[in-house]
Symmetry: C2
Subunit: 512 residues, 2 copies
């Protein structure tokens, strides 16, 4: 009863042992259950109405003429002195009429395509941390070697569907061109879609161009089959900056989906109450949604939400809190009200890969999944409130995500599974270990964990009494040994290298 | 912004510092949200029909004449040679017609009364472990000193509503009378209702008698206002032993609620498939439910479920698995089909208070709560698959339970909470820290954690870089220092002591 399951779809290298870490096969996910709704229909409408009041009475301040021009042309009230843009519900409804209810991302390996919308679900690698940590080498500044290792792990672990924005910043590389190095690493070391940096148009276009090269298609073709995505943050409260505006415009023009995600910590960037935070976040998200449709009606756009709270004792951000979980649930209700795909997160605020990291992440993961999230961003590797990408946390998260994947697998209630005959075949007080019904199913009957150790106390002691944290270190180390670089057409590789070289020359010391 | 909240309702002893661990006040809980249903109505009926086939065609084997007599008298087919009892759906429906849909438990302090049924929710202390562990003193056999400490912690932490069966066995005391010592400790050191041992009638009656003494009421009065409860286990598959039968009869005769809980590990005590496990567990639970109504129509009874799976590599039990979580959800659907209160659990299989303990417990807690559980047994302190009561795990669990309590608190969507004026008062790009709206609410706006540390990395490092496990040790130690023994009328105390002394004499070396 102990043949380990092979990881799905991996070829073994000559001379390598064929054993592999147990993991679920690559799969796209759907959530078959009804989302959890904690706001009644009246409450959802009350939030919506408050958001519309914010947009029409208070407005959002925009830095950057191109965005102001678009709103002005669409009939919004634009104050060129203050940058304040105000508009009525009509413009929102006009935009919602052209927004697609779902989008997709197709990477260089089309088998790794993911859908975003409806009841689809996909998980993204942590994005943005300036630091890296593992239990062997400690905490250090982001660098390309660690960056590449995380991309290898994202490729290796089937539960990760998408590479987020810079899993860690390669700080030793020039800031104005390191996006090229990271895009190249994404395309060389993985087969997944990825997040392009939306800080200005140049970084966006480089991502789009390089994904198009990797897929062997034109930019025009990619406009009809998106391959990259990005997050458009809002500087809450109600401030939309120039670089994000340019990034949004470039993405929408080229048909690539953006998640409009106000990052709002209740008590700091929004009022301290959850309904007010939801109303403000919703107004800011709708503002971005409208903008995408002004750029290009029908441009794919995702309703993003990242509302949590601060620690009112210190002002520090907190994640994986009950308030964060409730916000994840209510934001899903709002996204569905507008017929938009929904991006959420499963963050935590722990400084170490410890109990807190595990229960806060579990809490926010349930909120994200029960909230009907289509894209769960930062789903693997997030530590220290997002300031560190952690190897051990990534392993912990893969286990949590795989558990969730199994929970979302519908149960087969056929007669054979109801097993009356199997029950009849075992005497009272007996056991089912050796029965035909068991033998026929035992290998795939239950989820086989990546990180959990279910041996009894004596066996666990005899094997060194390793805690899950120690085992997590062994797992990521083994995964990196077993990782295989996916094949890439040498001609494409050459074209990508040339693109990067040319662009670095063009950029020089300027901004891209 | 840093005045620590006082724990609800505690008086400070003279000379003691008035600070206290942050915790939620004592409260009874209701779950305002719809349960999660992962089996369709047809599937629920298919499970029900299979259960009825099990009861009518296969039967349950009973050891003990008194139970056989009751079934025989009620018209069931009773085979006196094999002990097999079989009956049709009619007898089930007859029993369900008299079962109350809810029950309650009133301890010596009536303010600690809990409701069990409908959308009520309460949490019980871990029950049954032979061992104890904490990070200071290590692992050891159960003993009265640790037993008493756990009762103090159950009294101290408001999230615990109920004392389960022997949080750890005081192994140094005689097995035939240690139940008296533990009941006395429960009544002296806490104000909570507790679980009596259902191994035979004697232990049950001692619990009922002692709770009646503590409440200053007669046994007859307590029959109308239950004060103790117990779990009736089934020796799955389909075996009902003599001592449990006698325990059930004694409880039902005296109007005290029992949870009928088949302990079924898929692949061992049931077939390997979840639907079969649910069908068998359901048949066994219904068997016990029917028995309670044969003893005394209208006797309170709770639908118990504890279905998880084994590790198919080793045969070891696993808890907090996706299968366990799904079983918790489906069992709730079955309990509601029959209009019965629902007892479930939030177990885990880890050997240490580590990441695994945290994510498995989080997983099973969500399953238990979303499943509509009314009584979540083993909710605090369970480690090593139930073989160890852990001090640090108890603290971890209190944090998880308190998070869940906060999530279940309905959100107020009034205009003041929607906060349009508060949003209007802060300029774009500003912050809400010092606004009137924030100041008026910040002290109670967010859940204040017991175990989570939200300081930033630098502050956390400077304070010793304590992981949550280290903090958990400090928390239970501090709780024991701050614990205050609740007042008990000296006359009642005397009567309880006398009862215990008399009973110990009566029991001698025999069984109680």
């Amino acid at each position: 009863m102990n043949a380990p399951r092979r990881a799905g779809g991996r070829r073994s290298k000559a001379g390598r042992t064929s054993t592999s870490l147990p993991q679920l096969p690559w799969q796209t996910l759907t959530n078959p259950y009804s989302p959890m709704e904690i706001a009644g229909p009246d409450a959802v409408e009350a939030i919506h109405r408050t958001s519309i009041r914010i947009l029409s009475e208070l407005g959002v301040r925009v830095i950057g003429a191109s965005v102001l021009d678009l709103f002005s042309k669409a009939g919004a009230k634009v104050d060129r002195d203050t940058g304040l843009v105000r508009f009525d519900e009509e413009l929102v409804n006009h935009a919602l009429a052209t927004v697609p209810s779902r989008t997709s991302l197709t990477p260089r390996n089309p088998a790794r395509r993911v859908e975003i919308g409806g009841n689809s679900l996909c998980f993204g690698l942590v994005a943005g941390p300036p630091n890296v940590h593992d239990c062997v080498n400690g905490r250090r500044a982001g660098n390309l070697a660690d960056y590449e290792n995380f991309i290898r792990l994202a490729q290796y672990f089937n539960a990760i569907h998408l590479i987020g924005n810079q899993v860690t910043s390669p700080m030793e590389l020039p800031a104005n061109s390191r996006h090229l190095d990271t895009y190249l690493a994404n395309l060389r070391l993985s087969e997944l879609s990825f997040h392009v940096s939306a800080i200005g148009k140049g970084r966006v276009m480089d991502g789009i161009n390089m994904m198009a090269i990797a897929r062997g298609i034109s930019r025009e073709e990619m406009a009809h089959s998106p391959g990259v995505t990005t997050i458009i943050s809002v500087n809450s409260p109600r401030l939309f900056d120039q670089e994000m505006g340019e990034g949004l415009i470039a993405m929408a023009e080229h048909g690539q989906p953006v998640s409009i995600t106000p990052f709002t910590l209740m008590g700091a960037m929004t009022p301290v109450t959850l309904p007010a935070a939801m109303a403000q976040q919703n107004a800011e998200a709708l503002f971005g949604v409208v903008l995408t449709q002004l750029v290009r009606p029908g441009a794919p756009v995702i309703y993003g939400a990242f509302t949590s709270n601060v620690d009112m004792k210190s002002g520090a951000p907190a994640f994986g809190t009950p308030e964060n979980t409730k916000a994840n649930l209510i934001a899903g209700q709002l996204a569905r009200r507008y017929g938009l795909p929904y991006r959420t997160s499963n963050a935590n605020a722990s400084n170490a890969v410890d109990l807190q990291a595990a229960y806060e992440t579990s809490m926010s993961t349930w909120g994200a999944v029960l909230g009907g999230g289509n894209l769960i961003y930062h789903a693997a590797g997030w530590l220290e409130g997002g300031l560190t990408a952690s190897y051990e946390k990534l392993v912990l998260d893969i286990e949590i995500l795989q558990n969730m994947i199994e929970i979302l697998k519908p149960v087969d209630f056929s007669e054979a599974e109801l097993g009356f005959d199997a029950i009849a075949a075992v005497p009272t007080g007996g056991h089912f270990f050796g029965t035909d019904h068991t033998i026929a199913r035992y290998q795939s009957a239950f989820y086989e964990p990546l990180l959990s150790d279910w041996t009894n106390y004596g066996g666990w002691q005899a094997a060194g009494a390793k805690t899950a944290l120690t085992r997590a270190t062994e797992i990521w180390q083994r995964a990196l040994v077993e990782y295989e670089e996916p094949a890439l057409d040498p001609a494409i590789r050459e074209e990508l290298d040339a693109y990067v070289a040319t662009r670095k020359e063009q950029i020089g010391t300027a901004e891209p």
